[in-house]
């Protein structure tokens, strides 16, 4: 227990820890499903699209950081060195055409270098062909409707509304006395990010979305999927996703749509395809049951005609 060695070693490893954590925080994004406290960076997501988007984001961010360091560094040096109080005498030159050309051309080249991968990602994200499933999303004031239109060639027959969950809704009322920190599911805080009926989707399946709205413009956004798309009344927008990891993914409406714009979240439950098919079958059985019950009730009470 040599005190000298211990101090030295602890100082070193502490410094390394600080550097590593800062580096990790700043450089990597977490593949978290949902926002984390103190989160600094964009999610890497759970789809190829989200990963590409995150990549582009990091590229342009680093380019800006480097240019910023150069420009602000030059300014800092100038501010320290070229002060009248230090006796600096101002030069008289005031133009340099070569410099103007250089710092016009180099930025253009940098931008071309970024535009290339950005363009190919746009191409990929626009390609909704060869999907195995279609889901229709409709935005309402202030909830979402989901319809499984088609799954692997079969009509979906599933149509339901997804609203802010009751716990969040009660908590958010002004003067409710309830604490947002208490709205939890499995130890995870889901205040304003939970719904009564989530959208269950299969992983490893190319899913096409058709998106519209019934009243005003909304926008459907689940950050880990890597995109958002506006839901516009009278317009049908298309999108697609292919979820690579099962999990519960949360999002929010992303276009001001009235008083409860902040209170119409989205929850996607991604499960393996087998589990999804079971869920779909179970939901359809429930629907058939409900329809049969309604029919029986109707024929029981109305007088037989003819």
């Amino acid at each position: 227990m040599n005190r000298f060695n211990r101090d030295d070693g602890m100082k070193q490893s502490f410094g390394i820890k600080v550097a590593l954590s800062l580096g990790l925080l700043l450089m990597s994004a977490m593949a978290w499903g949902n926002p984390e406290p103190w989160q600094l960076n964009m999610t890497e997501g759970v789809t190829q699209s989200a990963a590409e988007v995150h990549n582009l984001h990091m590229i342009i961010l680093w380019i800006c950081v480097v240019i910023g360091l150069i420009v602000f560094g030059a300014m800092a040096i100038a501010i320290v060195r070229f002060r009248k109080s230090k006796g600096a005498v101002a030069a008289t030159w005031s133009h340099n055409t070569t410099a103007e050309i250089i710092w016009t051309v180099i930025p253009v080249l940098i931008l071309l270098a970024v535009a290339w991968p950005a363009t190919s990602t746009i191409f990929r994200m626009a390609d909704t062909t060869e999907s195995e499933m279609t889901v229709k999303i409709t935005g309402y004031q202030w909830m979402w409707r989901y319809e499984i239109v088609n799954y692997k060639g079969q009509d979906g027959q599933l149509n339901f509304v997804s609203r802010l969950d009751r716990d969040s809704d009660q908590t958010r009322q002004r003067g409710s006395g309830k604490n947002p920190a208490d709205v939890q599911v499995d130890g995870e805080n889901v205040y304003l990010l939970n719904v009564d009926r989530p959208l269950v989707l299969p992983t490893d399946t190319k899913i096409r979305f058709v998106i519209t709205a019934d009243d005003v413009i909304h926008s459907w956004w689940v950050p880990v999927l890597g995109w958002k798309q506006d839901a516009i009344p009278g317009v049908i927008n298309e999108s697609w996703t292919l979820i690579q990891k099962p999990g519960v993914y949360r999002g929010q409406c992303a276009e001001l749509c009235g008083k409860d714009h902040g209170f119409m979240p989205i929850v996607v439950e991604a499960v393996p395809p087998a589990e999804f098919e079971q869920w779909l079958a179970a939901e359809q059985l429930k629907l058939d049951d409900a329809a049969r019950t309604a029919q029986n009730t109707a024929s029981g009470t109305s007088p037989a005609k003819g």
Binding site: N34, G68, H95, S176, Y191
Partner: protein, 538 residues
Amino acid sequence: MATTHADHHDDHHDHKPSGFFQRWVLSTNHKDIGTLYLVFALIMFLVGGAMALIIRAELFQPGLQLVDPEFFNQMTTMHALVMIFGAVMPAFVGLANWMVPLMIGAPDMALPRMNNWSFWIMPFAFGLLLLTLFVPGGGPAGGWTLYPPLSLQGGNNVAMTIFAIHMMGVSSIMGAINIIATILNMRAPGMDLLKMPIFVWAWLITAFLLIAVMPVLAGAVTMLLTDKFFLTSFFNAAGGGDPVMFQHIFWFFGHPEVYIMILPAFGVVSEIIPTFARKPLFGYQAMVYATASIAFLSFIVWAHHMFTVGMPMGGELFFMYATMLIAVPTGVKVFNWVSTIWKGSMTFETPMLFALGFVVLFTIGGFSGLMLAIVPADFQYHDTYFVVAHFHYVLVTGAVFSIMAAAYFWLPKWTGHMYNETLGKWHFWLSAISVNVLFFPQHFLGLAGMPRRIPDYNVAFADFNMISTIGGFAFGFSQLLFVYIVWQTARGGQKATAGVWEGAKGLEWTVPSPAPHHTFSTPPVIDDAMLAHGNTVH
């Protein structure tokens, strides 16, 4: 004998109209109208700032504590309308009114009576707009961008807001016409276009942008009005219209609008930095061409505000490339400012502090703008706090800081008194630090997934929201110091000389401080050495 004659001469030129009504309400004097615009803008800045503090107070913690969501939406909408149309734009027009005639050696604006009307429309326009907060249904709550169908769900506020916007538009258009007519026709002999102060160039170009796009906004809001009251269906799909068309028309105005709010700022900073670096502006001609390029490009990038609307791929690509391109002339300007201070001989009075702060912080806003240009990345940034952070950096640490820099720079010329330099520096440092505490964390909030325009949020967003609110209140209260400084300087202080600043060059610095009520009644004889850009070699 000569002295008495000169005194009499000055007295004659300093003769102001007698009576408050005659002098202020019926003013045809560019200096007084400039003052009216600036005072109006300062009041509107405080009004808009109060709205911002209501927003930040509600967002201090998760949960709804202070206001209902409907009122919160009114605050976000009105905060933006007041700041854009009531604070930033009128402030720049006030600076133009005061300084353009002085800088070009003209006795006044080309159309002094129209100038009067341009100003006096504004208090009425804002009276109408602010009145909406007190009528049944409250103020507009669909965002300052007024997207239909949501904006048409408003009640009384729809018509009132639209009429207010029309009034503001008329004011801006008339003002812009005045500026162009003045600059093109009333320059003193020898003041060639490429010898003009760069602030004048910035305003000449801005005025063309205003004339081009304010009518487009007028058209867009008129279509909203007819959709609501006269059974048209411009933006109603059920009637054969298209909500997205509004967005195209609005942003065709909206994008040049943000350049209208920043080009004069570039002009201000390009006047201040050379003065306090005691070195000519680097690349004057390049700066002029860069400004013109930015203005031209600003017309072909509008849909970058709409990348998630469902545009065809070709559209997304075009607007991405065009938007990225705007970074180039903007970067040129930043490099030129840095080259101006390089090998200069700098002092750091308050105007210089704000101008240098502008260069650093506006550039940060420019970086987030470049990130937003990348379409797939924008799918994650759009309608989040990342966008809010971006535009507040370019508008607050950009436009507003430049306005404050201009105020400190020219207050001695306007009032004849030096402002209190210690207080000015306090104002700068308090503002510069608090504004970053306020807006920098908003980048993180956006990247973490917090949408815009929401009054309440998940606890994961709580920490940065709390920090942002603290910064907001600190920034807000720091501006009261500015109000005090301006008021104190108007009332008294150390007498200012004509030249005021050691490195100042230009016609405006050849007239006494305070500038007499009438200046350059006879055109000045211009010696190139008097001008900042008299040397045509550069």
